[in-house]
């Protein structure tokens, strides 16, 4: 029972990290059909932001709190710059966008290496987040993982509310559902695209802050995470957030369970096979927007 619960919670916390990363991707991929490979480097930017802030703000708890909004803005700004400079020129060619942003991610990684050095760096976790908390039944969960779970859920809640109730959210939904109709109805689609990119990239920055609690910060920290996050978006279906939420946690639990029953490497293969099998059943992902198009 204890082991089972432990694995379940590990899975959920893997899922929470995946979810934080995938939320931003789901936004940009869903709305603009753009694969942003540099998303992983926005995560890295968020993590290094935390590191830099900790150099000047000594209290670990305070610096983490400050890092959350700052990392959001830093990563978001990088995203907007990328959108303005490159991606908006490539909206008609999603596959090429993938390669171009991969090039950008290579350059950003090297930049991080030049600025911060190749070796990984560490941040100090606030005291409050280092211990374990006991839950009923004689079980414990790690505080930092609980914090990440809370952060991910808060991000989902905020995003859902924003999409549903704000004018910006309404415009985003309009563009996602029918870009041309939105454009002729007076929605400034280019500006909406840019805002979406800011939000999506900013969420990657938040994920970076969260990841500093789990492990070291390095130039290539984003590369491996990004593929799992993309798989979440692909399986979850684009255009809606609930697919990503469900799939992120499902993949996390599947990964953790597979790891427990076999090994890490076999678990990865199991997850991959499961995804291909799932796409046989629902090739468009778990949830899709109904359209009349053939694709």
């Amino acid at each position: 029972m204890t082991v089972l619960f432990g694995q379940l919670f590990t899975g959920i916390s893997i899922g929470a990290v995946l979810l934080l990363i995938a939320l931003g991707l789901a936004l940009t991929f869903g709305q603009m059909n753009v694969i942003n490979m540099a998303h992983g480097e926005f995560i890295m930017a968020g993590a290094y932001t935390t590191y830099v802030l900790q150099q000047s703000i000594t209290g670990a708890g305070l610096s983490l709190l400050v890092a959350l909004p700052v990392a959001f803005v830093v990563a978001g700004t990088m995203g907007v710059l990328l959108e303005i400079l490159l991606i908006r020129r490539l909206y008609a060619r999603p596959l090429d966008t993938l390669l171009v942003t991969w090039g950008v991610s290579l350059m950003l990684q090297q930049l991080a290496r030049d600025v911060f050095g190749s070796p990984n760096v560490q941040t100090r976790a606030p005291e409050l987040l280092t211990g374990n908390v006991a839950v009923p039944g004689g079980l414990t969960v790690a505080n930092n993982r609980l914090f990440i779970l809370a952060l991910a859920l808060a991000a989902v809640a905020a995003l859902t509310l924003a999409l549903r109730f704000t004018p910006l959210g309404r415009r985003i939904r309009a563009v996602v559902q029918n870009r041309d109709l939105a454009a002729v109805s007076g929605v400034p689609t280019a500006r909406v695209d840019r805002t979406t990119f800011f939000l999506g990239s900013g969420l990657a920055g938040l994920a970076g802050v969260a990841l500093t609690l789990l492990g070291p910060i390095g130039p290539t920290m984003g590369t491996n995470l990004i593929i799992d996050a993309f798989l979440v978006v692909v399986v979850g279906g684009i255009g809606q957030l609930k697919g990503s939420v469900i799939v992120a946690f499902a993949l996390g639990v599947l990964q953790a369970t597979g790891e427990y029953l076999t090994t890490l490497s076999v678990a990865k293969v199991i997850v991959f096979v499961a995804i291909v099998a799932f796409l046989q059943w629902r090739p468009q992902g778990l949830f899709t927007l109904r359209t009349r198009s053939l694709a």
């Binding site: 991929f29 059909n33 694969i35 490159l86 020129r89 490539l90 909206y91 008609a92 060619r93 999603p94 596959l95 090429d96 993938l98 390669l99 171009v100 991969w102 090039g103 950008v104 991610s105 290579l106 350059m107 990684q109 090297q110 290496r113 030049d114 870009r179 041309d180 590369t223 491996n224 593929i227 993309f230 798989l231 692909v234 090994t263 890490l264 490497s265 076999v266 990865k268 293969v269 997850v271 991959f272 995804i275 291909v276 796409l279 046989q280 090739p283 359209t291 198009s293 053939l294 694709a295």
Partner: protein, 394 residues
């Protein structure tokens, strides 16, 4: 099925299929030109390069030519078929590991075990799945057939359900990630991060001997030429035109009564076979195969050479792959950091601003010479751009 002939490329009104080589349908003359080009390439690879280059440089060239073989396959799958496959390293690796396993077993002698197995694991005997690779009659076909089988398995599942575009690219990349993690995780039987190293012999020939290294180079050059010939036949066949049609408008092809899934599957499997063969020949040329050579990063680096050279042309991928690999060696040994920036910049500039690759510059220059009446050929027409924009936002 046979009733419908794909329209010739230059039909007015249809979105001009961009990158069909001019004259691809004009029969005799182009075939003659191709033969001449082929002979020229053969002379370059078999006579000029061995005479002009030192043993060291020739060995490097052999390595580049292996990368070029992968590029030929990517040119077919991506340039012609529109399938951006970011996991060619998987097939390269399957071929490479199959070959390396055989050579390792041959080095160890009958009944022997590869050296690393004693090192890592407490294995008393050879794992069952290693055993067939002791026979060259199994291992050599396996270098090509194994990757093709994996590609067939994945492709037939995925294409039939119309998983395509970015979805397919992500899946192929995830396959590379899974393969590498699996290889590293099963260190006792796969050599883990180190891979299979220190390969001594190649079917009885000592690989340390420069003469034998030359022989390996000649084999590689010959195979590359053969693959190019195969690719040319494929591209200029009815199938090749169908493949381009699927790339440009899959739905229309479906409505014409073809099955786009099988068309794409063939291209993907062929590309996988080429990558497998390249991996198999890479092993004797370089003496090592390891996860670092086949993972996510090398897989996507295979693609950049193709993009630089011109993805939809026959020779572009080959020249681009060799040029990029050469630039990498030349620059990264002197300024390692600079090369990464440059490589990133190469992705950005070529893909964003020169999607036809360097080949399109050449075509542009030639068109200037030929005068304005030819100017519509071989260039992505504005009409097509707009069409695909609309599709992208569906």
């Amino acid at each position: 099925m046979t009733a419908v002939t794909p329209a010739p490329p230059s039909t007015a009104g249809a979105p001009a299929p961009a990158d069909i080589a001019p004259g691809s349908r004009s029969g005799g003359r182009s075939r003659l030109r191709a033969a001449a080009g082929f002979a020229f390439g053969a002379a370059l690879l078999f006579a000029v390069a061995p005479l002009a280059l030192s043993d060291f440089r020739l060995a490097l060239l052999a390595k580049y030519l292996c990368v070029a073989m992968v590029a030929v396959g990517i040119g077919i799958a991506w340039g012609r078929g529109g399938m951006l496959t970011l996991g060619q390293g998987v097939f390269f690796g399957l071929g490479g590991y199959a070959m390396a396993m055989h050579l390792k077993l041959a080095d160890a002698g009958p009944g022997g075990m590869p050296d690393f197995m004693q090192l890592y694991g407490q294995l008393d005997e050879l794992p069952v799945w290693w055993r067939p690779f002791a026979s060259p009659w199994f291992a050599l076909p396996a270098t090509v057939l194994l990757p093709m089988a994996v590609a067939f398995g994945l492709g037939s599942l995925v294409f039939r359900r119309r998983v395509r575009g970015a979805y397919f690219a992500i899946l192929s990349q995830a396959l590379a990630a899974a393969m590498v993690i699996l290889l590293i995780g099963q260190q006792g039987t796969t050599g883990g991060t180190n891979g299979l190293t220190d390969i001594q012999g190649f079917f009885g020939y000592d690989l340390d001997d420069p003469v034998n290294q030359r022989m390996v180079y000649f084999i590689i050059a010959g195979v590359l030429l053969a693959l190019l010939a195969l690719a040319r036949q494929l591209i200029h066949s009815r199938y090749g035109e169908l493949l381009v049609a699927v790339r440009d408008s899959e739905e229309r092809v479906r409505f014409l009564g073809y099955d786009p899934a099988s068309v794409k599957l063939v291209a993907y499997v062929v590309a996988a076979g080429m990558a497998g063969l390249a991996g198999a020949l890479f092993v004797p040329a370089v003496g090592i195969i390891s996860p670092a050579l086949i993972g996510i990063v090398p897989s996507i680096e295979f693609v950049i050479g193709v993009a630089v050279g011109g993805r939809a042309t026959l020779l572009g991928p080959v020249l681009g792959a060799v040029a990029v690999a050469w630039a990498r060696t030349a620059l990264s040994e002197r300024f390692p950091g600079t090369w990464t920036y440059l490589q990133g910049l190469l992705f950005v500039v070529v893909v964003a601003f020169l999607p036809g690759g360097l080949a399109s510059l050449w075509a542009l220059a030639r068109r200037r010479d030929a005068g304005p009446e030819q100017s519509r050929r071989g260039w992505p027409a504005p009409a097509r751009r707009r069409a695909s924009r609309a599709e992208a936002h569906r």
